[in-house]
Structures are given as C-alpha cells and as structure tokens.
Symmetry: C2
Subunit: 464 residues, 2 copies
C-alpha cells in the first residue's frame, strides 16, 4: 500500500502533497505502467486522509495523463517511458548531420587543441581570484566588461599590435557573434556589409542570421581588391589585414592606405578589422592594426581569446572608436554584460602575470612544428600531387595547391570515403570559384604528430 | 645613458626591440616630456648596436609622434600624458546620468542582495567541478548548453513548476536579452509583440533594441485584458502569469484558458511566458506554467538565475516547444553557446545537490521578513498616507497605494530631494496612466533591516 508521510508536506495542502508523491512514484517507475491504483477508500484509510483528498489527487493525475480510468474497474498507471522524468526525448532533424561523423582525421576543425590549455595555471589564478574578489564576483558585471580585463587587453594591444587604445573603448563579449549583433545596431541602418571572397564563412552566416544586407569583394595578392570593393556598393567591409583566412595573405602597407582612403570617402564607410589568429605568426613581423592608423573613427577592431586560449573560455572583445562607444553606452546600457565575472577577472590576472604570453609562445612553437611536420609529410608522400604548399607563416592551416584533374567535389568525396574530412579553398568562395580550384585547406591544429605521415599516405590514396 | 639588455629581445629584431624599449620608457614617464634623446652614435655605442638600428628606431618613434626632431639640435620626447599607456581617457556623455547618484535608499533596485549569495558553497562546488571535469571545461560548449545543467533544470521545473519538459528543449543563454535576440529570429518575421501595460519596462527596451514591432495590452485584475489583447493586433504576447511585475497579479485559471484559446486562434500566435520571480512566492501555491498546458507548441517559457542566485552568474534559459527547437538548432548551430562551461557545470551540481533549494528557502524567508518589516514600518509611520499595501504574496517589492494630492512627478521629486530613489506605478505604464496614479513601487530586496523605520520616516516627510 502507498503510504506517505504527510507531516513532511511543509506548506503544501494534503491533496497537493499526495498528488506530488504519486506523480513522483509514477515518474520514477515505482508505480509501473498498467499497475492498478488502490481504491480511493483504501488509500484514504492508509494515509489517514479524507476520500475527497484522494479523489482530488486522482483527478489531477487523470487530467494530466498519469492515470487512466477504466470503467467499472478503477484507476491505472500510464507511463510508457523509462526516463525518471515524463518528457520524451526530442528528436531534432539536423540540417547538417555530417558534423557528427567520426573522422579518422578532420582537417576542417579550425579549433584550439584544448588539451594544450594550461589548465593548472588557469585554475591556480582562478583560485586566487575567488579568494581576492570573493562575493564581489556576484555583483552585476560592468556593462562594457571588467575594467581590469579591459586594462590588460589595452596593454596587450599596445605591446603586441602597436595599438594605443583606451581601456574605455574596449567592449567585452561572449563571442564574436555576440559582439557583431551589438555592433550592427551601431552602424547605419542601410549599411551594406562586404565579406572577403574567399573568406571566413562564419561572417556571412552571422550577417544572414542578423538579417543585414551583405555582398562580397574579391581578393588580390595584396589584400582586398579595391576595384571590386568599390563596385560592390558595400559601405562596411570586414577584413583581416594581418592574416586573411583562409588565404593567409597579409595586406600590404599600400593596400592599407588605399583602404583607409576608401574609408575617408564617405561618412557611412566603416571597416571591421577582424584580427583573428594574428597571434599565430611564425615569421616576419606583425604590421600595426588598421585601427591605429584611422583618424576618422570608423575602424572597429575585433579579436577573441577562444582561439588563443580555449573555445571553452567565452571572452571576445571589440575596440570601438570613441564616437561609436558613446552611442553604444547610451543605446543599450540597460543590458548586462554577458561574460562571467570570474572568468573575466581570471583572464585579466592571467594576462597581467605573463601566463598568457608564455602560453602563446608555447602554442606558437607547437603550431609551427605541427605545420612543418604536415608540410614535410605531404612532401614525402609522392602520391599527393602537391605543386605548392602555402600559408606556413601564420595561422594553424596550410594551403596545398594540387595538380590534379579531379574536381574539388571529387576530392572531397574520395577523402570522405577514406575517413578524411577536408575543405577545398573553393568552398570559401562565393561565385568566382575557378581561380581557387584545386587547393586544399588543411587545418593542422588538432592533428596528432605521430600520425602525420600515415595521414598523408591516406590523403595520397585519393589521387591514385 | 639608456642601456637595454638586447639578449632579452627573443625573436625580435634589434631595431624592433630598441623601438619598443624606448616607447615603453616614454610611456612610463622614464623618458619625460621634452627630454633630449641621446645622439644616435652614443646610443649605438652604449648598446653595442649599429647607428642604422638606432636610426630606424628613432624614425619609427618620430613617425608615431613619440619623438620630435628639432632642427640642428636632435630628438626630443613628446609625452603630454600621465597614463602608463598613451591613450587618453574617453569621456562618455551618458544619456541617463542619474544612475550614478548616491541614494540614501534606492527602492528602484530590483536586484539580488549579492551579499546573501552562498559563496563558500558555490566555490566548494566549483572546486569539485574543476577537479572532476578538468580540461574538458575548455572544450567548446554544447550549442544548447551543458546537458547536465539542462537535465537539472528539467528536474527543477518538474518539481517546482509542474512542467514536464525534455532537457532537449532547454536552451541556456547568458541572459534574457540574449535569449530574446535568438527567439525573435525563430518567430514569424511579421510578428507584433505585445507587452503587458503596466509591465516590466526592460521587455519594451529589448523589443526596441531588436527593432521589432511592438504594442501593448492592458491588464485586468485577472491578468491580461483579453479584449485589449485582441484589439492590439499583437501576434506574440509577453506575460508573467505566475507573478506580474510590478502589479503582482496572478493570472486566474480562467484567464489562462482564455489566453490559450487566443493562442489556438492563429498559427502565428505565440506566448512568451516569463516566469521571472516565480520562485519568490510566500503564500498560496504556484500555478502550473502555461507551457505545460499548451498543446499547440507555441508557448515559450523563460527564466533566469540572475535573480534567484546572483546577477554575477550569467545563466538564463528558455524552454522551446520541439518544433521551434528544431528550427533553432538548424538555423543557428554554427553559433557557440555563450555561457561559461565552468559556471554551467557548477550550477548543475549546485541544483543537483540541493544547495539551490536551500538557498531559495533561505532567501524566501529573508525577503518575506523584509517585506513584512517594510510594511510594518510604513504602517507605523502616520505621515505616509498609505491607503493599502499590496504585493506581499510574491516577489521582492510592495505596492503602496497613497491618498495624496501630490502628483507622481512631485512625489518622485520630493523623494529625490530626501535622497530617496523610488518609482511610481505610473512609470511602468504606456498611456492610460490615470488608473495607476499614486502607487509607490518599493523594492525592498536591498534594504537594510535596521533602517526600515528611519527610511519610512524620511518617506513620510515627503507628504507633510
């Protein structure tokens, strides 16, 4: 018999408490599917409550579908589920199921090797922050982000990117997408956004998601093709002058000047300088950011720690020119900053105490060596018809120019059949693909060193 | 003489390193404004480098404005700033400067008393999570949020809100604003959003920020006024049936049925059920959420931990009906979840191990006692012309109906002169204010217990 301790019911009414107990027993499987419930009278006697109380509870369970009433027989448990909760597993039909495949090697994963993250250092710093800031971490975070973190980022930008920016102009956000959604609200409503073509595909997706008008501009070997930009009718251009993705192009000083000239041609022109990956440069030296060269206050600088540290740390930032900053502060300051106080403070201390620099140096060495190993492995594999290997100077991928009659589609398909997920450069293009045919984009950040030759061997099998 | 240890320069060229050292010394003030720089020859000799190297560094500093060249004399330091970095403080003209005022008492701060946060428990759990999950915390977070957390929230909703939802349908986000921006992309593009009037002002601001069309619906004592909703032409309505803010109304069962009927009238109709503050109910019992009563899959449930735990913890969630969830997963799954892995896991364990329930019980007792003390203090202060005190059952504010000839504007102004920041109910209204004149909305969550009588005394001075 079902006996419940009704003295435990707190402020609940007897009916409510009984109802909840029964429901839990059904959900937990204690009362199994099809089981006959005790009669109202028996349950009322066993628990020292009125029949009316039991009836109310049964009625409620009936209404909610946990019981069913069978004529002239009584109440039965309905519970065709195994889960402790009544909900049913929701099956989502994913539009792009391929993401879940288990690849032997995935060259498309342009991600951080999270295993290389200096976790013990990070948690050491985090413990200090927990001790130092204590309850203050639980206050509403500052709208623009933690001042300590913004100060450290300003210092970092000064030392590493030749940028002299006030911490006041730095806006912390939980990701580039998030910052984009904020930024677009600050730019003219009729703006037309140009992406680089080929270029980082996510930017297009963000524009589409945000419902803004976008177009594209071709690339030349010096960076953005100015004629194409002008013809595109774009008023805002997204660019990575320091390291184009995926081409690896560094925009020349002359092209930067030309781009800044374009900027000055109209008060509606803006440049979004996405400095993603600028930290991973293995030769040559970094060219100062466009942001620092712009007098018109219409360059917005963006960067993220998700690549340099870990995608598990949701901290990105943008540097707004003062006039946009003012607009931002006044338009949206009822919003809260979405970044974790604790992680912001931890990152600030991590930057301040030099851990970040040390980690970057370590990762630079690691990625450089990974790239070289992959390059060597490809060169040592005669079956791969590699004409040229590009992109060793920066980033975490290389470009492999192929001499092959296979179409890019065939290459991908054959690779897939070997368990290899890869991208061709043409996939980063909108139209105009011909120029970029037969070039593999191989991200090596996540490859296992010991497997490079083996992987190259399998890759070679595609072409024989 | 300026001597630098060039062996420290890492991979930098000598010129680059020298340039950086000099720049730092200028920025730090070591090389002061107007100081004459050593000649190129002297600096080259002192540092064992070529004159050409020094010249390059000087040229760069000249170009960037850190040095100036005076004819026939040499180079001089330019640095009219005190800051360690060259940037200048950016002054933002804030549109609403009153936020910064120092109030004797602020009745408008509808915020959590962060001092009551169980910080030591939270950090204890967090340390366990750091140990248990370790490096896994550094992986890219799951798109919808941590499965562990979503499971715990599903359990919580079942036990506390009578909702039977699959964890699959729960979407974690870094705040209600963030979730709104995602949700709006899922609802019909031509949707018209209704806010409750009076109502929570932030919702309007969010709609405006997101650029969607919005309108309002009046309230009756039973909840949303159905005639007004129909007349408004809205297709999506935002409502807090469990606890209207600021009226404190609980929507009657009949009104819920009427609202669900309205929902069924068109496939374009949606309800956003904002369950904010539902946790703080001191009498009566919670009514099951609308989400659970809806068969049409067009109720979206929203809630946040920023009030129940702390505004420093950026975790909110929405429960999507399966068909909207599918749309969400397929439309935007290139985005990363913006919440911190660490905090999501910590919260999951915090819920699982009962700490959250215990904290809520503690806060319920605290807020209830705060509300009662404020009510008593007001009743014991004859100078306050209080006709009725409402809203004791739920939330963290009370409504004080006044019998006064002062206008709401005058009340606010006089209060301000006494150092009291308060809101009148009419401020939560769009048009139709007359109905809601002469009612104070007093948030008591942040009041100091020992000051209640004193505060009430000062409040009374307004009316004499």
């Amino acid at each position: 018999m079902l006996v419940y301790d009704l003295t435990n019911r707190g402020k609940k009414s007897k009916y409510e408490y009984l109802y909840q107990c029964l429901k839990e027993d059904i959900l937990s499987g204690k009362l199994a599917e099809g089981e006959k419930m005790p009669s109202k009278r028996r349950l009322s006697e066993a628990n020292g409550i009125s029949i009316r109380t039991v009836m109310n509870a049964y009625e409620q369970l009936l209404m909610e579908g946990y019981l069913e009433s069978r004529e002239r027989s009584g109440y039965y448990v309905v519970s065709d589920f195994d889960s402790p909760l009544r909900y049913q597993k929701v099956e989502i039909k994913e539009a792009s199921p391929e993401q879940d495949e288990n690849w032997m090697v995935d060259f498309t994963a342009n991600t951080t090797v999270y295993e290389k993250f200096p976790f013990s250092m990070w948690t050491k710093v985090m413990r200090q922050v927990l001790g130092d800031y204590n309850l203050h971490l639980m206050k509403r975070g500052e709208f623009l982000g933690s001042p300590e973190l913004r100060y450290e980022i300003a210092k970092y930008l000064y030392h590493n990117r030749g940028m002299v920016v006030s911490p006041d102009c730095i806006v912390i956000g939980t990701g580039i997408e998030y910052l984009y959604s904020k930024l677009i609200g600050l730019l003219p409503a009729n703006a037309v956004y140009a992406v680089e073509n080929p270029g980082y595909r996510k930017i297009r997706l963000i524009y589409e998601d945000l419902g803004v008008k976008w177009t594209w501009t071709s690339m030349s070997k010096d960076g953005i093709h100015m004629g194409s930009l002008r013809k595109s009718g774009a008023t805002v251009v997204h660019t990575s002058p320091e390291h184009h993705y995926p081409l690896g192009t560094v925009m020349t000083a002359r092209r930067r000047q030309e781009l800044l000239k374009w900027l000055e041609e109209s008060a509606d022109h803006y440049i979004i300088e996405d400095d993603y990956d600028c930290e991973f440069r293995y030769s040559g030296h970094a060219i100062p950011a466009l942001y620092g060269l712009d007098a018109s206050q219409r360059v917005i600088y963006m960067n993220t720690f998700s690549k340099t540290l870990s995608p598990g740390i949701r901290i990105s930032y943008m540097v707004l020119p003062p006039k946009l900053l003012e607009q931002y502060v006044n338009s949206a300051n009822f919003f809260s900053n979405t970044s974790s106080n604790l992680e912001q403070h931890t990152l600030a201390a991590f930057l301040r105490d030099g851990y970040f620099d040390r980690h970057l140096n370590r990762m630079r060495r690691y990625y450089l060596s990974q790239g070289e190993k992959l390059k060597n492995a490809i060169q040592m594999t005669p079956t791969i018809p590699a004409e040229e290997i590009l992109g060793m100077e920066t980033g975490t991928h290389i470009l492999v120019k192929l001499k092959t009659k296979l179409s890019d589609k065939e290459i991908k398909l054959r690779a897939r059949m070997k368990g290899i997920n890869l991208c061709c450069l043409s996939e980063f293009c909108i139209g105009e693909k011909e120029l970029y045919w037969h070039v593999l984009v191989l991200n090596y950040s996540g490859l296992e060193e010991s497997h490079m030759l083996e992987v190259a061997g399998v890759l070679g099998e595609i072409f024989v």
